[in-house]
């Protein structure tokens, strides 16, 4: 190949790259102006032909699971086909939804919880819809007065302990026990920056000890030898007794003991773990119709369906959380082994959204530096 030829190619390449960059910049401004006038944009999109069977897309996090028959029951009933798409954990999913606000990947978002809720509301992710079925749901779960989101399930994030490791000393029974020297070096929890149970526990301490007391609690916890891991997996299977680790107290879920029974090897009828009910933070998961959806009517039907016994009773064994519908029947393993806190700790979503970053930064300073 002659030098002239190669130089020519280089020039073409440079032009291609410049055009590419220009195209990107141009495309970007189009997108920006469209989302600026989101009402007009969604109107034009909504004119797409509605032939064939109706179909909608349900966006979830990666922990979402249902029995195969559940969504097909919905399709049989309504004729609406549901495409399910999952991405990342709840944090990733919310971040993605905010990034694509106004032009969502799907119609209904499932799995935003009370720790992320206000962020989603502030970003105008959802359009309001009051399902007739939500009337049966207890008020404690209905955190948005405008019904932009609908509560679907809930669960408690609580410390678990390995029962056999506690003989002479009784297992811990309160959050204060965890800073008692009798329980020094026994507890492993997660970093709130990287883990949702870690975040829940930090919020639990703030709910319990207040803005004035939680920092002292964590200083004491640190002095008492708390271990911090990045995520639930490495805490439970790395440092906790369950995975052969040295620590018999771990931050996990109220539904962990039933899972320990259900997936025990060899089979057992009694869970090896107990729940420290005083430490529980309540997480509520919501579903909402994403603004920008072209299929609002169908999306409303899906929200209604999520609050029927068919959907609600399928939740516990697939996602290990509890249905919000009071008359949904629980599977036997949950009845036998799952405990819920009578007075779980909780915080107002608006206060979580306003302080989340600041609290986390403070936590990092207190516990890790």
């Amino acid at each position: 190949m002659s030098p002239r030829n190669t130089r020519c190619r280089a020039a073409i390449l440079a032009v291609v790259f410049t055009m590419l960059a220009a195209a990107c910049g141009g495309g970007e401004s189009v997108v920006a102006s469209q989302s600026g006038a989101s009402g007009a944009a969604s109107d034009t999109v909504a004119t797409t032909a509605d032939s064939g069977p109706a179909s909608i897309t349900l966006l979830t996090h990666d922990s979402f699971a249902l029995s195969e028959t559940t969504l097909s029951a919905f399709t049989a009933e309504t004729g609406i086909v549901v495409t399910q798409l999952a991405s990342g954990d709840a944090g990733q999913m919310v971040s993605e939804a905010i990034l694509t606000a106004g032009n969502p990947v799907g119609d209904v978002l499932f799995g935003i919880d009370n720790t992320f809720l206000q962020r989603g509301l502030d970003a105008d992710l959802f359009v309001a819809y009051e399902s007739p079925n939500v009337a049966a749901v207890a008020d404690e779960f209905r955190l948005d007065a405008e019904n932009r989101v609908t509560p679907i399930d809930y669960g408690d994030v609580c410390a678990n302990y390995w029962i056999d490791e506690f003989g002479d000393t009784p297992p811990p029974s309160s959050l204060d026990d965890l800073i008692d020297p009798a329980y020094a070096d026994l507890f492993v929890t997660q970093n709130p920056e990287t883990s949702s149970p870690g975040m829940a526990f930090m919020l639990a301490t703030i709910a319990k000890y207040g803005e004035d007391g939680w920092e002292d609690y964590w200083t004491s916890l640190r002095n008492n030898g708390v271990e911090i891991s990045a995520g639930w997996e490495d805490a439970y299977y790395g440092s906790f007794t369950a995975g052969g680790g040295p620590r018999p107290i771990v931050m996990s879920y109220a539904s962990s003991p039933p899972a320990e029974v259900l997936f025990a090897d060899p089979p057992t009828d009694t869970p090896p773990t107990g729940v420290l009910l005083d430490s529980c933070f309540r997480q509520i998961e919501f579903a909402g119709i994403l603004s920008g959806s072209d299929n609002v009517t169908e999306a409303q039907q899906l929200i209604d369906f999520m609050l029927t016994p068919t959907f609600q009773e399928d939740i516990p064994l697939n996602m290990f959380v509890f249905p919000v519908l009071p008359d949904a029947e629980l599977p036997q393993v949950f009845v036998d082994h799952a405990q819920l806190a009578d007075n779980p700790l909780t915080l107002d979503p608006a206060s979580i959204a306003a302080n989340r970053d600041g609290w986390t930064e403070r936590w990092v300073e207190l516990v890790l530096r």
């Binding site: 280089a10 590419l20 999952a86 990034l99 799907g106 990287t194 639930w232 060899p266």
Partner: protein, 535 residues
């Protein structure tokens, strides 16, 4: 043609989303927060740490990997093919699983507390980086080493140079292009490592990569995330430009040697020591965590057995698909990703080997994905391909395309030193004998590069099998669940059954990888006209 194909693919699927994300982020800047973050002392510390841990990881991996590269390049010994194939295995293992294995090794050997502590230290991070990247050095350098002309070193020995002098003064400079190539890959991998930092580094550790994730996902500050991502891109681009320059400059100066195919010899005497040392150290380093994993997969509630594997065959709770389907998904994605990487990376390498200024741009540009945050890639796709007719956000094939982007640098970097090293004299001779440029490409460049191409493809395949970063951002259907996602899901609930099955699935993923690597290599062995000595 080759150039246009590579540039188009790459510009569309990498350049466009990444630029879109960065522009979107930077446009949303409302105050001077991004600059406050970027120029804050905390971030400077993090940037410095990201850099030095990656440099140390790279140097350590090179030192640990060279003996094995030598052993594989020179000697024919029993189990050689198996050893080569097994090396790629760490690549596909999910970080959660590897971190778990490392931690249990630490606990078993008392390294979690006491005089020597590895748990939650930078040492654990370095160790894991060597574990994951060992194969890159051994394969990239080893493959190149096979075709290095031994005569200059032999001549030096005859003229009285010691073995060490001959190695340092002659062989090492000869290997330089491959060393630079491998080092660049290892550096980028370590620089953008995410799971290892979080899981093994302990709770306080942060790098540029984990910061991008923290700002984008945790704090929803897309402006800061974009600024950090841009900084990461620039740093990586600067580094690759440097290595690319170093690599090609040296290589062109050395084009005089012919590519005499040297036969592998049977090891004798002290040479066995090198082989045992190389294979032994690799087994100790990579083998211990892997054996821990295998042991755990066989451990059931009633002693050792295959119950966890059998459980995978029947019904796995919590998984949206069967484990077999997840494996099938993973393998088919990996095949697609490897094929795309082979074509695009091969074209790019060929174009880049022609040595124009544009070629340098291709060389640098196509290596970028390896040094780009999974967050940047994943979120970029989400906002770039969001309007018809290019609304690809939930298209299933976007996942293998993303995997291919990360695989392309392996093909490119693997094959480029070989292509650049082809002596112009061979091409000239062919031209003199009447071969047109296409015939030269077909008859000379391609056969000589095949092996390096396939080594690159094997890596692209393995990278795809294990990729879980950018993939996790892409909205995926339950039926397309891949093996790493399935493993992650199984480890997401308590219960010994689930954990056992996660370990079993990890081991199967390892076996699939090793078997695939063997098959790919057999192709490499068969395709080469000379065929001598290899496999």
């Amino acid at each position: 043609m080759a150039l246009v194909l590579a540039v188009c693919f790459f510009g569309f699927f990498f350049g466009y989303p990444v630029i879109t994300l960065v522009i979107r982020g930077l446009r949303s800047i409302a105050d001077d927060r991004p600059s406050q973050v970027l120029f804050g002392s905390a971030f400077l510390r993090i940037a410095w740490f990201s850099l030095w841990q990656a440099v140390v990881s790279t140097v350590a991996t090179l030192i640990v990997g060279l003996p094995a590269a030598f052993a594989l390049a020179r000697f024919d010994f029993a189990g050689r093919a198996l050893f080569r194939a097994a090396l790629v295995v760490p690549f596909v293992l999910p970080t959660v699983v590897v971190a778990g294995a490392f931690e249990s090794v630490f606990t078993r050997f008392g390294l979690d507390s006491g005089a020597i502590v590895l748990k939650d230290t930078v040492w654990a991070v370095l160790l894991a980086h060597v574990f994951f990247n060992y194969a890159v050095v051994v394969r990239v350098v080893g493959t190149y080493w096979e075709s290095v002309d031994r005569r200059p070193a032999q001549a030096a020995r005859v003229l009285g140079a010691s073995a060490r002098t001959a190695f340092v003064r002659i062989t090492l400079p000869q290997l330089r292009p491959a060393l630079v190539s491998a080092a660049a890959i290892v550096f980028l991998f370590s620089f953008t490592s995410f799971g290892v930092i979080l899981l093994l580094g302990g709770p306080g550790m942060a790098t540029i990569e984990t910061e991008i994730w923290r700002y984008a996902v945790n704090r929803i500050e897309f402006d800061v995330a974009a600024a950090v991502a841009l900084l990461q891109l620039l740093a990586v681009a600067a580094l690759i430009t440097l290595t690319s320059y170093a690599e090609s400059k040296r290589e062109r100066a050395r084009r005089t040697g012919t590519q005499a195919k040297t036969r592998l010899t049977a090891p004798r005497g002290r040479q066995w020591l090198i082989i045992f040392g190389a294979v032994g150290s690799a087994t100790a380093l990579c083998g211990i965590p892997i054996f821990t994993l295998i042991e755990r997969s066989l451990l059931t509630g009633s002693g050792y057995g295959f119950a966890n594997y059998e459980a995978l065959g029947t019904q796995v709770s919590l998984l949206p698909t069967s484990a077999a389907a997840a494996l099938t998904n993973s393998v088919s994605y990996a095949l697609m990703a490897a094929a795309i990487a082979l074509v695009v990376g091969g074209c790019a390498a060929w174009a880049a080997s022609q040595g124009s200024a544009g070629a340098r741009l291709v060389d640098v540009g196509l290596t970028l994905p390896l040094g780009t945050s999974a967050v940047t890639l994943g979120l970029g796709v989400l906002i770039a391909f969001d309007r018809s007719p290019i609304d690809f956000r939930s298209a299933w094939w976007i996942v293998p395309v993303l995997h291919a982007l990360i695989g392309i640098p392996f093909v490119l970097r693997g094959v480029l030193p070989t292509l650049r090293g082809i002596s112009p004299r061979i091409r000239e001779a062919a031209a003199t004998l009447g071969a047109d440029p296409r015939a030269i490409r077909r008859e000379i460049d391609f056969p000589l590069a095949t092996k390096a191409l396939l080594v690159g493809a094997a890596f692209a395949f393995a990278v795809s099998l294990g990729e879980f970063g950018a993939t996790s951002f892409v909205p995926r259907r339950p039926s397309t669940t891949t093996a790493p996602t399935a493993i992650f899901r199984l480890l997401g609930q308590p219960g010994d059954q689930l954990r056992g099955q996660a370990m079993a699935l990890s081991v199967i993923l390892m076996l699939v990888t090793a078997a695939s690597a063997l098959v790919i290599e057999r192709f490499a062995g068969r395709d080469r006209a000379s065929g001598g000595g290899f496999l």
